[in-house]
């Protein structure tokens, strides 16, 4: 039993068989370990979304889509999403949410999942945004696109 003192037998002349375990170094070690781990603990989990940028001053034109893939482009405007699937445009206007009008991310994911079903090799999506779009909405859109199993994201500015 840890930390227990030898039990007295009450009989004289006999040595007790129970030996006392010295727990002080063990407690010291645990205390140091706890202090170190508490100091170095990372309490918030931070994730990342890997993107590439296309467009700009001297940018090279985007590569043509490979076989069994199409050109998918999601544009964020002040009205909502504009989804371009191989040139065909689909408008996804903003919807009412708890915090006011917001982007229809559910609708976007549904459309992108349909694309993924029809074109299983599809990985690339271009996300374009207007200058006034808030970063939070951009990141949320990229997050949803990645969640729809389309991980190769290119970010560019929307042509006004």
């Amino acid at each position: 039993m840890g930390g227990a003192a030898p039990v007295e037998t009450g009989k004289k002349g006999k040595k007790s068989l129970d030996s006392e375990l010295n727990l002080v170094p063990f407690i010291d070690l645990l205390s140091c370990l706890i202090a170190f781990l508490l100091i170095t603990a990372v309490w918030t989990q931070i994730s990342a979304l890997r993107v590439a940028q296309t467009g700009g001053l001297d940018s090279t034109p985007p590569e043509p889509p490979k076989d069994n893939t199409i050109d998918v482009r999601v544009t964020l405007t002040d009205r909502g999403y504009t989804l371009s699937l191989a040139g065909a445009l689909v408008e996804l206007p903003k919807v009412s949410k708890a915090a006011g009008m917001g982007y229809d991310t559910k609708g976007l994911v549904e459309k992108l999942k349909l694309v993924k079903t029809q074109y299983p090799d599809q990985r690339a999506v271009t996300v374009a945004a207007e200058d006034a779009v808030v970063y939070e909405n951009l990141v949320d859109t990229i997050d949803q696109v990645v969640a729809a199993d389309l991980p190769d994201i290119s970010v560019t500015a929307a042509v006004n």
Binding site: F26, A132, V134, Y135
Partner: protein
């Protein structure tokens, strides 16, 4: 007065007595109380296991500032150790040192931000030099990774300029940092795996 063990203290004559001496000496209760250390060690062990599970050898890659509130993301890609461009609503900084104000960056409609671009090129030179020194010891080449830590309310106009400057300086693998949340929208902390 000397410090003595608590208990009965008969006089010297009585303790030497053949009749009473044995009675006084024998049958004494121990005056030392055992301290129960087992629950404390149990608690320490559980605490150590819990903290070891949450231990990250990478440490904090981003310096969390009160000016920058990261957006929430559900993706689980981990941040890599790389230079950090922090974009708050007021200023743009590189690895903690302020490079320029956001108002200066958004003054014109051009994409390039020369001050940030120059700072990033300098950073790239430093990385390449240290990589050259480490190459003999198994170091890897320049991978062009950069972490962008932007406030959730920053406009895309600023972000696109920052990304463009990164691209121009050779940092083409851009990681947008965010607070990891579960699908239900709860922020993940050490206590919410």
């Amino acid at each position: 007065m000397p410090i003595v063990t608590p208990g009965k203290r008969p006089g010297i004559r009585l303790s030497k007595s053949k009749v009473f001496g044995k009675k006084i000496k024998g049958g004494k209760k121990s005056v030392y109380a055992n301290m129960q250390l087992t629950p404390m060690i149990d608690m320490f062990t559980i605490l150590v296991i819990y903290l070891l599970q949450n231990f990250s050898a990478d440490g904090d890659i981003l310096f969390m500032s009160k000016d920058i509130q990261l957006p929430n993301i559900t993706a689980k890609m981990r941040l890599e150790r790389a230079p950090v461009v922090a974009v708050s609503t007021d200023a743009i900084s590189l690895d903690g040192s302020r490079v320029l104000d956001v108002s200066d960056a958004t003054r014109d409609d051009t994409w390039n931000v020369p001050a940030l671009e120059e700072a990033l090129r300098e950073k790239r030179r430093n990385i390449e030099q240290s990589n050259m020194l480490l190459r003999g010891a198994g170091g890897e080449g320049f991978r062009g990774i950069i972490n962008v830590q932007a406030d959730h309310l920053v406009q895309f106009k600023v972000v696109k300029k920052v990304m463009f400057a990164c691209n121009q300086a050779g940092f083409s693998n851009i990681n947008l940092a965010g607070m990891q949340v579960s699908a239900a929208g709860e922020v993940k902390t050490a206590s919410l795996p």
